[in-house]
Symmetry: C2
Subunit: 697 residues, 2 copies
């Protein structure tokens, strides 16, 4: 059940790794400046026809190798030959939070290492560079035999994907992921150079980076200095590479062709209509309700004091961000025009499929099968969703550890997803993270989430009875969290390394509970795999093949948090009765701050006032382009034809949110920090001479 | 047929008197900060309950006597004891255009009289001050006898209104207008002190006043210096009065209670649902189509050269302004929620009326009668609309002159509306205006409008055959305009003064045509009066009485371009995914200019760049409030509780446009120039020391 999977990934990210999950915004026969193109299939035709530009293979390779994926949910790029990486402050904020304490709050006060030695190691940041892409579609598909049921086919496909990944890892030592594109239309082996020694170099104050707060989030005109610098290290030394983007403070002219290279998280543009309708009627109402409850619980916790406010701040930020994104998407789904457009497109597609007898017999049943599976999953959606322990990282660790020790004993191809050999390093990096865990917050949130489950599932629910054992949610959470020592990374490590034996003997209440729950959860997951996911996967492959048969490979796949190239022009758009300019200036920053009394979300760090007269206020602050992006693209470089760095993506406008389903060039815009603002700020506000020298040498 | 009447007034204003007709935006049981209240019935209850403020009668009288109505479509206020009047640049622009030439373009370059002697007389500006209000409802209603038909009742009512006006004029010498409020629910005699020697004192460049052009028109955040100063003279000397508003450059705090005193043009909030639906289905599509054609014709004319561009500029401005306003209103009508809200309100009202047998028999048939009349009028709407000579002021003069000489010979009570004794001064002032007329533009526009009539009515139309006489529209326009001398005010005067005899002998082709058309037009108007207007008037009175019976006089009447008091708070609002601040600053002016390359509609006068460093950029530029306004309110003062001047209304936000039908406090905002910006500009940009001294002494 693919969507649930994505949902869980989404929740995992925002709930457990509240870092950098700012969701910004990114069709079947692509027109206009649309598309998140894979680097194997760049939009050469469109670029030539619309902009008279043809990138060379060398250009494409250089951009790809200068692009960085942040595993906690964002993008970035190398901007010097010494491994300097630029991303958004809101991508970095998870690490900033993890190195902060009550006494030293880097989120609030920012950070600058004036020497290499002062650069600060991130506790659990992994970044990736995509070094190769190989089409393995034939091999994955060959693993599925005609006589197999959907469930057997799913198993076989997974085993084959794991085998390919394992072979590649052993052969190259590189992180190797088999990626499903076009919902199973193609399978590609992506190999990544992985960096886990990534050190913080510079971040401005959150007030400068996130100026305007949740109000201005996903809107434009904007004036945010949403940047942060890291440096990748290998063997204790800065990484050296020629594949970095040269800095250009001029930024784009109005109308100039620009590119974005980054990792859009997910889109639903190739969904069937039945699936889209399910998103509207089942998924979005459920998740939006959940987020509201979650924000309320965090606000309650915040009210306990200043330090609690600090601890909860970026989780609230992540949830508010998610809420605003999902609300905009939900509004898109409620727009009858968007829905009927999508439906019409599907009808035209189906008509073509059905008009060819061969296509009809090969692919024709896929839509109906999808609809049936979606219907089945919808009936269990709330149950599945609320039969999980949410809100507590420690509980999440317990569940993973209990499974880890069992799964790794199985042959690689038979393991649950997430526990294949090729994935273990990443999982361990996550499980053994030394980042601080706040037990009082854990307890508060676990109690809250158990009470929501109780509301939804009722006291007779089998799962809840297992967890609560007759206690109230608050008693349960207190008993589980207070007694647990899973906030200690060394304990987690010793359990993983001690294997099944150690876990069996462990009396930690969260481990005990996780062991008790495990068979139940496995059963539930099995049902989902056999009844939903396997059907959707088979049907998805058929629909993808049908699309290739009817339209050829003229389009791009839905986003999968893998590297994509978008292109577009730096142009404004019609907005709220007038038009939005393609860029803003620093004059506007001070205007907006003063317009709101320079307080709350519109307060600026004191240095902005103290040094205002040093600044050239005509300096461009932010700018927009028609580049097609979505959440995950945060931190992506904006690049000109010369391959130079001219800005960093940090948001989409409010009009871009329905872009999850349909791209609308007339008003969908990607919002970026202008390179000139970053340089002006580094020079005149932050005295970051070392960094300026490195960026401009 | 009331709407057609308003429409024709609207067109007369924008087509013949293109000045100051910027339409900015303004329910049956008023809640929130809603309402355009007459000064005899101020919202004391609401002010006390919401703001704890009770204005004294003295306060109300002072505000009223400091308020000014601009007869060419706007409002203003006295701001010194020497007759200094402040209004908007866009209210003044008609007069600015009329005193401009190819060599000296005051619209573009602005104007400042550094001495009293340099103040420049406006060619045809009339301003009014409302000095008294008397309820004459009983007298007007008593003129209608039960046995009269609707048509007879209309005649009797009109005759009585004219008699009241005439008596008052003779007794007091004051301009005396009987105003119908609540669509005939009440009749009031309004007496005005009238000034026709009104001299221009100061106006900034159009680029500063109308910064952002049609794009930013009806939107916010804004940064416009939309102000102009006139001075009222009597007997060649500045008018002295204690009733002026003291200047306060501090403006409003966030959330502060503020007032607007001005003359909203028209609203349709008390319309029946059937009538509203007719607006949506018949009126708006027709008028929007017409405006489009008109703008196209003016653009064609502009392309002939620089001087033509200058001549057409403010007409295009007026039409674009009207188009944007009407488009916003039309969108409101197309909003199913707005319509169903309106319908529900009517249903509740009707239910109450029908539940009382007496009310039911007295008023119950009014809604059906209205619907039937509206249906009849809709069937003839296009025909009526296109059987007129539009686009040419000279043709308009001809039609009025031909009627004038006939009507004035009748007893006052029997004349057509517009020709009563109490109205003749105003009509003559208009007919004898020395303002320049551009014959090449007249010809171009008349030819265009005849061709539209030909498209709509077809060549067999009786009216068109009379006008065209077998010629093409272009030939007809050429023959009529080239040979006519009606561009000369002395000829117009001699015809009016020469009476029927002089007009009969006159060979001017436009006069000849107007005489030929007159019987036809009279017949058409008679049909409208007897079939539509009389029915609507009787029904309107009934509905108004029913409203008073059911709800009492708890509400305000629809706008009628008479003096009203609005109140509200200076607060921002949710906008396009974020929020708009209650005020902007001069920082924002430079931001928006530079964001668009400081060119086109976003260019600023050179003095803004030259003197930028003298300005305190933190000075508030514009601000919004929840005050309920609409077109006609342009130039209205914004006033604080102390009765001080703190800003001048110049626009409504885009969200306010459906306010013609329903007021929505959550997002309907009135946009004003902040008093601080005006003072800063007068001091530091315009060196207007004399004016500053007068305003601050």
């Amino acid at each position: 059940m693919n969507k649930m999977k994505l949902l869980i990934i989404f929740l995992t990210i925002i709930l457990l790794l509240p870092a950098g999950t700012r969701i910004v915004s990114a069709a079947s026969t692509a027109a206009a400046d649309e598309g998140m193109w894979t680097f194997d299939n760049p939009p050469l035709k469109q670029l030539k026809e619309r902009y008279g530009f043809t990138p060379t293979q060398e250009w494409l390779d250089h951009i790809r190798l200068a692009s960085v994926r942040f595993m906690d949910g964002g993008s970035g790029s190398f901007v010097s030959s010494d491994g300097l990486i630029l991303t958004n402050h809101h991508v970095a904020v998870g690490q900033l939070q993890k190195i902060s304490t009550a006494e030293k709050d880097f989120v609030a006060s920012g950070f600058y290492a004036s020497t290499l030695e002062e650069e600060l190691k991130s506790p659990d940041l992994e970044v990736n560079v995509l070094v190769s892409m190989d089409d393995v579609t034939q091999r994955v598909k060959a693993a599925v035999k005609p006589e197999m049921s959907d469930a057997e086919a799913l198993k076989a496909r997974r085993a084959e994907r794991a085998a390919i990944e394992k072979e590649s890892l052993e052969k190259t030592g590189l992180q190797s992921d088999v990626v499903s594109l076009y919902h199973g239309g193609e399978y590609w082996l992506y190999r990544y150079k992985k960096y886990t020694d990534v050190r913080l170099v510079m971040a401005p104050e959150r007030q400068a980076a996130y100026f305007g707060g949740d109000f201005d989030n996903f809107t434009y005109p904007r004036y945010d200095l949403d940047m942060a610098f890291f440096r990748a290290y290998e063997n204790g030394k800065p990484v050296k590479s020629d594949h970095y983007l040269r800095w250009n403070s001029k930024g784009p002219e109005r109308g100039e062709l620009v590119f974005v290279s980054g990792n859009p998280g997910s889109t639903d543009r190739l969904y069937t209509f039945a699936r889209l309708r399910n998103q509207r009627d089942v998924y979005y109402p459920m998740i939006l309700d959940f987020i509201d409850k979650y924000i309320t619980a965090l606000r309650e916790y915040s009210q306990q004091g200043k330090e609690q406010t600090r601890r909860a701040l970026i989780r609230i930020f992540g949830l508010e961000n998610g809420k605003k994104a999902l609300t905009g998407e939900y509004q898109g789904l409620q727009d009858p025009e968007l829905m009927s457009k999508h439906k019409k497109k599907e009808e035209q597609f189906l008509e073509k499929v059905n008009s060819n007898p061969e296509w009809k017999s090969q692919f024709g049943d896929a839509w109906k099968k999808t609809e049936e599976a979606i219907k089945k999953s919808a009936a269990r959606a709330e149950q599945n969703f609320y039969r999980r322990l949410t809100g507590s990282q420690m509980a999440g660790f317990a569940v993973e550890i209990v499974r880890f020790v069992v799964e790794v004993k199985k042959p690689d191809g038979e393991r649950l997803p997430g526990f294949h050999d090729s994935e273990l390093d990443r999982l361990k990096f996550f499980l053994f993270s030394p980042a601080p865990i706040y037990k009082d917050m854990e307890e508060h949130l676990l109690a809250a989430s158990l009470s929501w489950s109780l509301d939804i599932l009722g006291p007779d629910d089998e799962y809840l009875q297992m967890v609560l054992e007759g206690r109230t949610p608050a008693e349960t959470a207190a008993a589980l969290i207070k007694e647990s020592r899973l906030d200690d990374a060394t304990l987690r490590k010793s359990l993983v390394e001690g294997g099944e034996e150690a876990v069996k003997k462990c009396k930690d209440p969260l481990i005990v509970l996780a062991r008790k729950m495990d068979p139940f959860t496995r059963e539930q997951e099995k049902w989902n795999r056999e009844n939903i996911e396997s059907v959707l996967t088979t049907a998805g492959e058929k629909i993808a093949q049908a699309r290739f048969a009817v339209y050829g490979k003229t389009t791009y796949p839905d986003a999968t948090f893998t590297l994509r190239l978008s292109y577009g022009a730096a142009v404004g758009y019609p907005m709220n009765g007038t038009k939005a300019p393609y860029k803003t200036t620093l004059y506007g920053l001070f205007d907006r701050s003063l317009s709101f009394g320079a307080e709350g979300d519109y307060a600026l760090p004191q240095r902005f006032w103290d040094r205002k007269d040093r600044l050239d206020l005509a300096t461009p602050a932010n700018f927009v382009s028609t580049c097609d992006i979505i959440g995950g693209n945060s931190g992506s470089p904006v690049i000109n034809k010369q391959g130079e760095f001219i800005g960093v993506i940090f948001d989409g406008n409010i009009e871009s949110l329905p872009g999850r389903f349909v791209f609308d060039e007339s008003k969908n815009r990607a919002v970026a920090v202008h390179s000139a603002y970053m340089m002006e700020a580094l020079r005149k506000l932050y005295d970051a001479d070392r960094l300026v020298e490195e960026l401009t040498r």
